[in-house]
Assembly symmetry: D2
Homo-oligomer: 305 residues x 4
């Protein structure tokens, strides 16, 4: 039997699976509990060379924190770099992603757009006259990036998260007390919960990631996404995308990536590939065990910096 790329990826799934049992499915939302600790699906979009998949690649899951990558890019596109980085930092940060240590002392500015406080500031910047239209704009943006017009919000998950949002609500009111957001906090939170609950599959993530991998300006549905913004998003993903494990991840793996609590993982290899992984088993830092393993294996086989 010939070793094709397709069965190499299936082999990778088999190789990684045992490690998944060392992680745990998040208990954050009751909806996550349906996931199995050994679920693992992968899609890699090579651009012109096509797309490779392994595992249940059409199973849907919610993007959760992976959506922060898309909201950041949309905010950069809509507002420009200066506006965005006056209201949110670009540091790696310390402490847990939803803790009170994710604000810069004094100014109250969140350390980066991927901690929850920073993501809320970004949602406040998105285009749309009201929170609902912002959610639609984010859904449309992800549809355009992935080429899948059936993408939508899982309202049940959004509602479920909304009932547990007291910590994020605290972050929101703290931001408003520093005048870093202008939207009503309740509306902002509901928009944020809906964005986190956008449902995708690994192919959607891989296709969207392939766009992020571009070296040049990209035209998506008539809008020009600037190369400088794509690069900024990749760089932040590289060194701040993995919560408190970001530094170690950047040193060890070095592929710009972002995980979500659902197990969603997105990775971007400059000019070469977009990666989508679904692996709901999480490690102690809240990152997907399977997602990280896939990225680590790929980084070992690629020649990049």
């Amino acid at each position: 039997m010939t070793v094709t790329a397709e069965n190499w990826l299936e082999g990778l799934v088999d190789e990684i699976r045992p490690a998944l049992y060392g992680g745990a499915v998040s208990g954050y939302l009751p909806e996550f509990e349906a996931a199995r600790v050994d679920d693992l699906a992968i899609a890699i979009d090579y651009g012109a060379d096509g797309i490779l998949t392994a595992g249940q690649c059409h199973s849907l899951f919610t993007a959760q924190s992976v959506v922060k990558v898309f909201t950041l890019l949309l905010a950069l596109h809509h507002r420009g770099e200066d506006y965005v980085f006056e209201r949110v930092g670009c540091d790696q940060g310390i402490g847990s992603y939803n803790s009170l240590e994710t604000f810069i002392r004094g100014s109250g500015v969140p350390v980066n757009p991927f901690v929850n406080a920073g993501a809320l500031v970004v949602v406040d910047m998105l285009p749309g006259s009201d929170p609902d239209s912002r959610v639609r704009n984010v859904v449309d943006f992800i549809r355009a990036l992935s080429g899948n017009t059936s993408i939508g919000v899982n309202t049940g998950v959004a509602r479920s998260e909304h009932t547990l949002a007291d910590r994020n609500r605290a972050l929101g009111y703290f931001l408003r007390s520093h005048r870093l957001i202008s939207t009503d906090v309740e509306e902002l939170l509901w928009a944020y919960c809906q964005m986190c609950a956008i449902e995708v599959d690994v192919v959607d993530l891989a296709r969207a990631a392939r766009v992020l991998a571009q070296a040049r300006d990209v035209v998506v549905e008539g809008q020009v996404l600037r190369a400088a913004h794509l690069r900024l998003v990749r760089r932040l993903m590289l060194f701040a995308g993995m919560y408190e494990a970001s530094g170690q991840y950047a040193c060890d793996v070095g592929i710009p990536a972002k995980c979500g609590v659902s197990g969603a993982t997105i990775g971007v290899v400059y000019q070469r590939m977009g990666i989508g992984v679904y692996g709901p088993a999480l490690d102690r830092s809240g990152n997907s065990v399977g997602g990280l393993r896939v990225l680590r294996q790929l980084s070992g086989t690629l020649d990049f910096d």
Copy 2:
């Protein structure tokens, strides 16, 4: 002319007045701006020996953070010491009274009952089936302590504060995410704003403070306030009552006291006197310049520890 106690106090007012110009009236609420920087009123309740006053001693002002002394005592009375101090610390703390540094790392427990987060936890413990009845219970409690049945809430000030309460709202939701409060945060905040807006004069404060000065259990309107609770409140006032200036105040002056942003100040000299001061000029730590001066002068003339 003979130097009587009464004109000694008037002399003290004259002596202190020039220092008031070094402070500033708070701009926190528009209602405070009516106050004059050189306003100063004092009342001292000597118990059986009567009450001395100087300045506009029947002018009304809102208690603001001074109310935290009474809510703490009422919570101790209602819930007992163990219940209260499982949910709020008894440390001096560092950082500003409404900052995110007023929580103990990890547990999320506020450092003491006088920082805003701690005061919110205390309001959550007060007797009453709903927030409004808690406000009434606090009003009734202060009426009983001061013997003035006309005390009530200045609803305009409460509403004004409520519109500016985003920082306190953030503190409230943070507490709820740590399950340290059970009331709805919005209702809790509205109750808190009303309690801060209870209107008193310096005689009311002096009379209530005289009760706090007791060495033995006190019966107030049929309720027995335990000596141990009075002592606890005095001790916390001693070393945690003056925001970030608490340590220096405890060393220099040593009279258990508490200031509010309106300029309200209460002081308690064990077994001897209750002190009420109104001095809206505040120093950089947010304490009343006049209030502190009165207490410092008294501490120099008294023999106590």
Copy 3:
């Protein structure tokens, strides 16, 4: 048999002893390991009314952090209050007594004279042309306060501590980088280690504490210790003397006190008594289990604030 004061104190020892097994003798220095977890000795100096003792009241032990009380008083006497509190804070502080969190952010000033960094600053202020003469001055001062001219330094313990002093050395160099000390750090440390190793018994501590309890200026060997300085020392002991348990201790017990890692404990009841306890079993905050129990029991029988 009549219940005399003497056998009341022996009864107290018996009552407290079982609790000692819940603590542990410090392993910080090998010399401490000779101590037994159930050792307990008490002395109470009532002034004119004489001195009561229980347990092995003439056993010697090193003062350790208890000496910080005497070095502070001597520095205040020698330099005055303003000089001292420009170089060391008077806040309760947070964090462990020898941690890097005991400096005030920015200025590098230690939070109070009882954390190690603060104690080093105080040693730098003591009278004496060189570190050795400073040690002699502290020994002489404690001899004078306790009326025991045989008090001296246990050089073996001092040397033992000196070999383990890297953390304190770090604190010392940090202070020097902020220009808060001027002595050579090595000399300062050796002086500090010797001061911590001054050997006393509980009667010495009780007698010295009785001097600290005075309401008025005290003449000790021709020197006038000012009442204001005694009061300052008592107040700091009250709210900052028990490491991270200081706030709870101040609320619960309220007797100005200080413990050392050897189990040495000193307590001061204003105008009434000086207390010395030796109880090497320590609790998790590093305070003497026996020392705290004795003080708690006494606070329950005394009428003070």
Copy 4:
């Protein structure tokens, strides 16, 4: 006149020079004061394509913190990745490079090898039976990387820094109290000061940087520097090389680089170039104004990620 690469670089110097006046030469050591705020020299090593220079490219200056790049690489080579990163973190960190906030809470491990505490841990790991032989090994290593056998230590600058080293001494003793270093702190510090005082010119830095830019294992004087170690060093430089400006630098410029307080700057473009800059005018974060400008300009003309 034709625009050659050589005169393009001279043009760059002219373009950047006005911005230098917005910075300031460090007053940290008296030796730095001889530098002129508008000094600027650049060398770029293109590998086989030769080396370009502009400005006073043979003026000597001390490497200062730039040496941390070489000591890290030598430690990785000598001890391996696991040994190194058990004793020092790989996070971006917050706070100033020599502050007490550069330790990870609890463990006392420095946040990364480029803050002073981390660099001291790295010096402790270097090959050599004693501190002096470690210094020689670092000198030899830099000689080998740059191909310049005349490189040596400026002992005057080393001595000058050593007299000002109290903050670093504090960091050293703190590390030893956590058992993170085993060398005598004084010897370690003297070795560190000498390493910081290694004198180079921009051509030396460019040539050494060109080695760091390699994709594959490199043989330097018979030793095999592993590609994985070169990559690790580049990645840490990328996101932690610019003190507190590291995050912003990584997003904006994205070329792995490191500055020193002397104005020394090194930059590494993967597989393409090694960059050395000397520009003693520093910005408020302590980075070289000229060094950063050169790197920013280059990043705009290069196609990399």
